[in-house]
């Protein structure tokens, strides 16, 4: 099953819709540990991405790059820039290929994850979006259909959130709170969980 520019555009539209109900939830999660802007920021970034007209874009790789560029003008926050970094790296990997296969998704997530590690300097295990993406990359390894992919991704992101809840944050603003962060969801991981859930058909 192939992934097209159209299916990417559809996913963005869906994510953009989902942010309506998620914005406040994510802001509240961030307010516990950080500055309470994760939701507002993601809504802005995904909103900008949804404005991008992909109708004449040649291939999925170019689409990801265009979305990344749209994201860079909308945010100055860590998560937003990491998001753009991941999209840009995945787009570069996909560059020139007319279509992508569902089987390529795992590698694309891993590429995004690695670019984000390089950009942000955090490690796996620090309780960030990286851990969610890592879990998704792992879960998508055997996936064959888009339906299965979204289901597996949503499940992986949800499990990662559960797993890391009991650990402390080791990066960003939340790090300042040390062990007080145990038992609290990382807002970035929560965002991945909720957005991937929203993509399940």
């Amino acid at each position: 099953m192939s992934i097209t520019v159209a299916s990417i555009a559809a996913a963005v539209t869906r994510a953009d819709k989902a942010m309506g109900g998620l914005e406040q939830i994510l802001n509240d999660a961030d307010a516990k540990l950080g500055d309470g802007d994760t939701g507002g920021m993601l809504a802005r970034v995904i909103g900008k991405m949804a404005e991008v007209d992909l109708s004449s874009t040649a291939d999925p790789g170019a689409a990801l790059s265009q979305l990344a560029k749209a994201a860079t003008v909308a945010t100055g926050s860590s998560l937003g820039t990491l998001f753009a970094t991941g999209l840009l790296a995945a787009g570069r990997e996909a560059k020139g290929r007319a279509t992508l296969d569902v089987g390529d998704l795992s590698s694309l997530f891993a590429t995004a994850r690695d670019a984000m590690i390089a950009r942000g300097g955090a490690s796996l295990g620090d309780k960030t979006v990286l851990d969610s993406l890592d879990a998704i990359a792992e879960a998508l390894k055997g996936t064959e259909t888009p339906e299965q992919a979204t289901r597996d991704a949503a499940k992986a992101a949800s499990e990662a959130l559960e797993t890391f809840r009991s650990q402390p944050n080791r990066i960003g603003r939340a790090r300042m709170f040390g062990d007080q962060t145990i038992g609290i969801d990382d807002p970035g991981m929560l965002a991945i969980k909720e957005l991937s859930a929203a993509l399940v058909a």
Binding site: T72, V73, G76, S77, G80, G120, G121
Partner: protein, 333 residues
């Protein structure tokens, strides 16, 4: 906390509007509308010096755009980094064909954005270098100096890099002097009362009725201790002691000092601090050159002060003395 503002969402853009309207030497640029640059386009052949950071710290960062200082500056929302897009635009506006120094505070988000902006501009052939302000001694131990945050002391690097760039020096030289200045600058702050981000319904941190926090960061990041308010002389002594304990390699007997208000603390109190800091430094055999006392890097209406020491050598001292002019800092020959 009462603020003279309109809608919180307009806080930054209206502030920038007013800033450039009141200062014809500045202009607002870029599609993002979040880049302040010199009104006069950069001289071809001059190395550009760009900075950037969150809003809420005036005169930092945008206020230091001017002759012998910055060429341009990208600016984010209050206490948020500037977007990658605005960083790209700031770099382009500071490009005179000889490369651009990115000189900004060591915060994770800002680094990511400036790094990404630099990478995205590589294909346009703009060479960039990076120097990170990391003067805040309270934010990490001496062994982890590269982890320290950048605070008020970065203006010393603005001054030396800006002055050297005006002479026509190349990018490596401008980068080197900025790095040396950062390496020789140390800051510590003390907070007395919080500020509040526009639109937020609570202050950025809380302190008891009679409580202060030594070493607190400019966004309320935890410091070294929290205890009852004491006399200014005792506070100044501890701050100077902590700074001298962290003296950089190669430090001589001459320092420039910056006694800076975090916002609400008035000049009167800064001068009381300065008086003691100066006496303590002189007692330690250190001579003060070009002291600065005032509002140089604030966190809106936060109360408190920071003290920065720049351990000058002859080169730095000469560059600090070079003429410079921006809306908030004028050095005349």
């Amino acid at each position: 906390m009462k603020k003279l503002m309109n809608k919180p969402s307009g806080f930054v853009d209206e502030m920038l509007d007013g800033l450039v309207a009141a200062n014809p030497s500045l202009a607002l640029g870029g599609d993002t509308g979040r880049v302040v640059h010199r009104a006069k386009p950069i001289r071809s052949g001059k190395v550009g010096v760009v900075s950037g950071g969150g809003s809420g710290h005036l005169p930092l960062f945008t206020g230091y755009v001017g002759e012998g200082l910055l060429d341009s500056c990208s600016i984010g929302n209050v206490f948020e980094g500037p977007t990658v897009g605005s960083c790209m635009e700031a770099i382009k506006l500071a490009d005179g064909g000889k490369g651009v120094l990115r000189l900004y505070g060591n915060y994770g988000g800002d680094r990511m954005n400036f790094d990404m902006a630099g990478e995205m501009l590589e294909d346009e052939g703009i060479r960039t270098t990076t120097v990170l302000g990391n003067d805040d001694v309270a934010s990490a131990g001496p062994a982890e100096r590269q982890k320290r945050r950048g605070v008020a002391g970065i203006i010393y690097a603005y001054k030396t890099a800006g002055a050297l760039a005006e002479t026509g020096a190349d990018l490596d030289a401008v980068t080197a002097i900025a790095q040396k200045t950062v390496d020789r600058t140390r800051t510590i702050g003390v907070a007395l009362a919080p500020c509040q981000v526009p639109g937020s319904d609570k202050p950025s941190f809380t302190l008891g009725e009679n409580e202060i926090e030594m070493g607190m960061g400019i966004h309320g990041e935890p410091g070294i201790w929290r205890d009852t308010l004491r006399e200014a002389d005792a506070i100044a002594d501890e701050m100077i002691e902590r700074l001298l304990a962290d003296k950089p390699e190669g430090a001589g007997k001459r320092v420039s000092i910056l006694v800076n208000s975090l916002g609400a603390t008035p000049l009167e109190e800064l001068f009381i601090l300065y008086r003691r800091a100066r006496a303590t430094l002189e007692a330690a055999g250190i001579e003060i050159v070009r002291p600065l006392v005032g509002h140089y890097a604030t966190s809106m209406e936060m109360a408190g002060a920071s003290i920065s020491l720049c351990f000058v050598d002859d080169e730095i001292e000469a560059l600090l003395a070079a003429p410079a002019h921006c809306p908030f800092w004028t050095v005349t020959a």
